[in-house]
Symmetry: C2
Subunit: 154 residues, 2 copies
C-alpha cells in the first residue's frame, strides 16, 4: 500500500506549549500559513465564515508508539476500553488532529482563532470552512463516556 507525503501549510502559534487535556478555552491561537505553500489570496473570503475545521499533525507523538487497537480513553478505567478509531486521542495512526474552531480575524496568511486545541509549533495540514450543508445530518448520538470526557475540555 503506497504512502503519501504531506507538506505542512503552516504552523500553530499558541500560548500553550505542552499537551494538557483540559481548559482549552484559556488558550489563544494564531495560524501562520507558509508563504512558500500558499499565496496571500488563499484565505480570501474566509472571514465570511464563522468557523473553520483545522486539520493538523500531533507531531510530538512518537509515530512508532501509536495505538492500533483499543485502550481506555485517557487511561481511565471507569470508561470502557474502546478502539483508537472510536476516540479522538492523539496517539493514533497518522497522528492527525481535527478541530472546529471560531475565526476571529483573517489577515492574509495569518488566521486568529479561538477554540483550537493544538499546541505551539503544531504543523497544520489543511483548513476548511465550516458549511452548514456538511454538518452531521440526522440526530447525533454518542456514548455517555464521550460526554463525560468533554466536560472540562473547553
Amino acid at each position: 500500500m503506497s504512502s503519501f507525503t504531506i507538506q505542512p501549510i503552516g504552523f500553530v502559534r499558541s500560548s500553550r506549549d505542552a499537551a494538557i487535556d483540559d481548559d482549552w478555552d484559556a488558550v489563544t491561537a494564531l495560524i501562520e500559513l507558509d508563504a512558500e505553500q500558499l499565496q496571500p489570496d488563499a484565505t480570501q473570503g474566509l472571514a465570511d465564515f464563522s468557523h473553520i475545521e483545522v486539520v493538523f499533525l500531533f507531531d510530538r507523538v512518537d509515530a512508532a508508539a501509536v495505538c492500533r487497537g483499543s485502550r481506555h480513553p485517557r487511561g481511565n478505567t471507569a470508561w470502557p476500553q474502546v478502539g483508537i478509531l472510536a476516540q479522538r486521542a492523539k496517539d493514533r495512526p497518522n497522528r492527525v488532529g481535527l478541530t472546529t474552531c471560531r475565526v476571529q480575524r483573517v489577515d492574509g496568511l495569518r488566521i486568529e482563532v479561538s477554540g483550537l486545541d493544538a499546541i505551539e509549533g503544531t504543523p497544520v495540514i489543511d483548513i476548511k470552512p465550516v458549511m452548514a450543508g456538511f454538518a452531521a445530518r440526522g440526530e447525533v448520538s454518542e456514548p455517555a463516556w464521550a460526554a463525560e470526557l468533554m466536560a472540562g475540555y473547553w
Copy 2:
C-alpha cells in the same frame, strides 16, 4: 519545513467511481480498514456513535496542479472568487478530504456508512467519532454562495 509521511489505514469501497459534484446520497460506501495498519479492536465501541468524521486523500487529483491561491468555486463566476482555504474543493494543498457521515454498521475492520462523498479506491487517513463536545460552538454562519453550492449535493 519538514514533510510527513501518511500511510493509508484503509480504502473506500463505493458504488461511485468518478468525481461527480452532486447527488451523493445515492451512493453507498464501505470503508475497508487495512489489517496491517489496525487490529480488529480498533473499531471497538464505534457503533455507539451515530456519526464519524472520515479524513481521506483526493488521490486522483494531480498533486502538482493544486490551487494555492483563489478561484471561483466549481469555476462558477456567479459565485465570488475565494481562497482555496475558504472552500472545500478537492484540488487543494495536501489534497485532504473530510466528511461527516453516518455509521450504518461496524464489523471489525469493515465500516458501512452513508453520506460519504469519496469515490471507489479513495485512501482513508483517519476516522474519528463525532462528539457533541467537539461541534462548532456559537452561531454558525456562512456566505450565501456556500449554501447555494450545497443545494444539490446530497
